[in-house]
Amino acid sequence: MERIKEPLLHITRRDGMPLWKSMLIRAGAVLIALVISSIFISAAAPNSQGFFGFFGSFFSGSFGTMRRLSQLLRETSMLLLVALALVIAFKMKFWNLGGNGQILMGCLASAMCLVYLGGRIPNGVLWLIMFVVSILAGAIWALLPALFKAFFNTNESLFTLMMNYIAMYLVAFFITHWYPQGSGAMPSMSEYALIVKFSDPSNTSIWGKTIPVVLAAVLVTIFIYCYLRYHKHGFEISIVGESVNTARYAGINVKKVIIRTLILSGALCGLVGFLLVATVNQMITTTMDGNMGFTGIIVAWMGKFDPLVMIGVSLFVNFLTRGMSQVCIDFGFTSEALSDTVVGLIYFFLIGCEFFISYKLHFSKGRAKKDRPDFMDPAPKPPEITDTTAQTQQENTPDAAEETA
């Protein structure tokens, strides 16, 4: 009678954990993932630098030299710009998977200007035209699926995804058209680079390409933050995202909001295309988007759709990628599969630890017994898994009420 068979452990939802504690858990998760990676890699590497050498290499990938720091900031800014472009659509629950294509169209518009106008007009005018047409190209590439979504309610995920391929093959077509004998490679037209020049050429070399990109990222971040938080449009976006019917009821023109938001989203991707061609590359390839349209999705979600948190996330994502590729160089690995594995492992731990931030584990014996909420004591329960979800839900109800309040 006294002995009721209890599940070995069950889960309850935590009441809001203090931020410092949750950040500590996240940092711990990353650290554990790195330690595990370090053990494996330092043991298996052809040219091992030892357990601590792993951490040294990892940091030096981003911070080893001024140039690497500059590259880190440039890549972070690019990724952040893309993530910001996506987040305004995501807030509306419009799943814009077409970031890559919108960036490429921006690149293509800029590259066209380079090919047809380069050297024929002053560079300043050239850059201005490139800027405008890139933004237009990106916006048009996002506008097409938005129109179909608004008027015919087509599936925007598939539509935007397919537009990526069209953009890629358009780029391939134009490279072939311009450079028929080059095996798909366009030479760099570096004389038209939009870079910041310093009196010391080594500073130009290190920072020249980074400063314009970082500047753009700072301005756009401030703009998007204010747009989403303080502007009426931002409010409309979140209402449409919550419920289209509510939005309609509130007198919001849903079609208009979808179209307007996607034009902005595409325009920002087009801006990234402009920066990639005008500032960084002065040429175009079919892979110039660097898959940022998809990495940007990770940044937007891990940043919980908050532009300021996303700054940290994009920095972190680039820090990981650069760190791991430096480890591969220093440890003598010639296959990239490894660095992808480790980066995947870190994401796995990071996302896994969110569970421990949101929920608490209770073990049925010992210390945990005291913590157990009273109302769970009675009633023998069927096996643990179904059971825990039921309990979680019970627990949820008061919490959820609190949260919405």
Partner: protein, 420 residues
Amino acid sequence: MKKLLAMGLAATLAVAGAAVLGGCTEDDGSITVGLIALHDSNSTYDKNFIDAMEEACENKGVSLILRTGVDEDNDCYDAAADLVDQGCDVIFADSFGHETFMIQAAREFPEVEFCHATGTMAHTENVANFHNAFSSIYEGRYLAGVAAGMKLVEMYNGDQLEENNFDENGNIKIGYVGAYTYAEVISGYTSFYLGAKSIIEEELEEVGLVMDVQFTGSWYDLVAEGEAANALINRGAALISQHADSMGAPSACEAAGVPNVSYNGSTAAACPNTFIVSSRINWVPYFEYMIDCVVAGEDIATDWLGTLEDESVVLTELGAAAAEGTQEKIDEVRAQLMSGELHVFDCSTFTVTKTENKNANATVDENGVLTSYMADVDTDANYAADTEAVVNGVFMESEERSAPYFDVQIDGITLLNAAF
């Protein structure tokens, strides 16, 4: 608050990094070589460079910093500049599209030597520390074609060829998977075809040889290369060769039981039943030469060409599928090529048809023999044909610059598509 912490975290990262900044490497006078590779060692093309560079650096006792997965855009410039920061004295990049970014880096860091494989611009760009290198791989492909011809003769005499392996004129059909429709690939498949054809004509009187070429538009695309090989096999190709870097075509051949002549290295391990032979460029001689020049402080040749003589162009060991007597025949033809007795692009061995949209730069006599060809040797924006390539009835490939410029479409080879 949350944002504050996120930004705090970012700041911590930056500070932690700044601490590492202090410990930069400094040049102690020893020689360091940097290698920039387009893909990692899973690509047969890049593996060929990586292995050769590791061997050369070990032989010469210099250290190596290896960067893999470097794209053909500003990524290449960033990698090169980073290698300079690491104290590299000479930096080598392995892909065609790296060239303009290597030139940018070369202009910026005149004290470091920059070398580039397959490029075309060193002899016109006048950047003293930028150099091109390539090898006469068309001779290697010709020899691989000889091995293919031997196999076809064996199959023909052994009645192993089926009806669909012949075209309507009774010629044996073979197939070739190419990456892009440009000089390097065209030169490669034409020399392969001519090698095979020379044996067929020598051994079999009644049949000729035709070849279909399918392009993939990528240097490394496992699926597309496999599909291209299968398409060629379905069209009746009795044998397949390829100029692309994945295992797609060899694996498809192994699955279909069709003999394969490979490139970049032996595929015998993965394709034991169908692998005949593979030609490849052996980069060790160039890398050793390059390192020697840097150690001695001498100039590196602007446009270096490796040959059969210095073993820059080599064949792998024959596979089990090779016909009997292949090695002897290859040795014989190699000796003829080296002595100059035999030329791969001897215009008397092939005919050319000039039409409105092909072979515009060719001059052909009434028998279809190529008498003159203006090749685009000096790279410029207009792709203007600038140099006469046919001398004494021979198309002089890689004579004016190391990278190939033979892009004539000869009779007997059909391009199923084009990819640039």
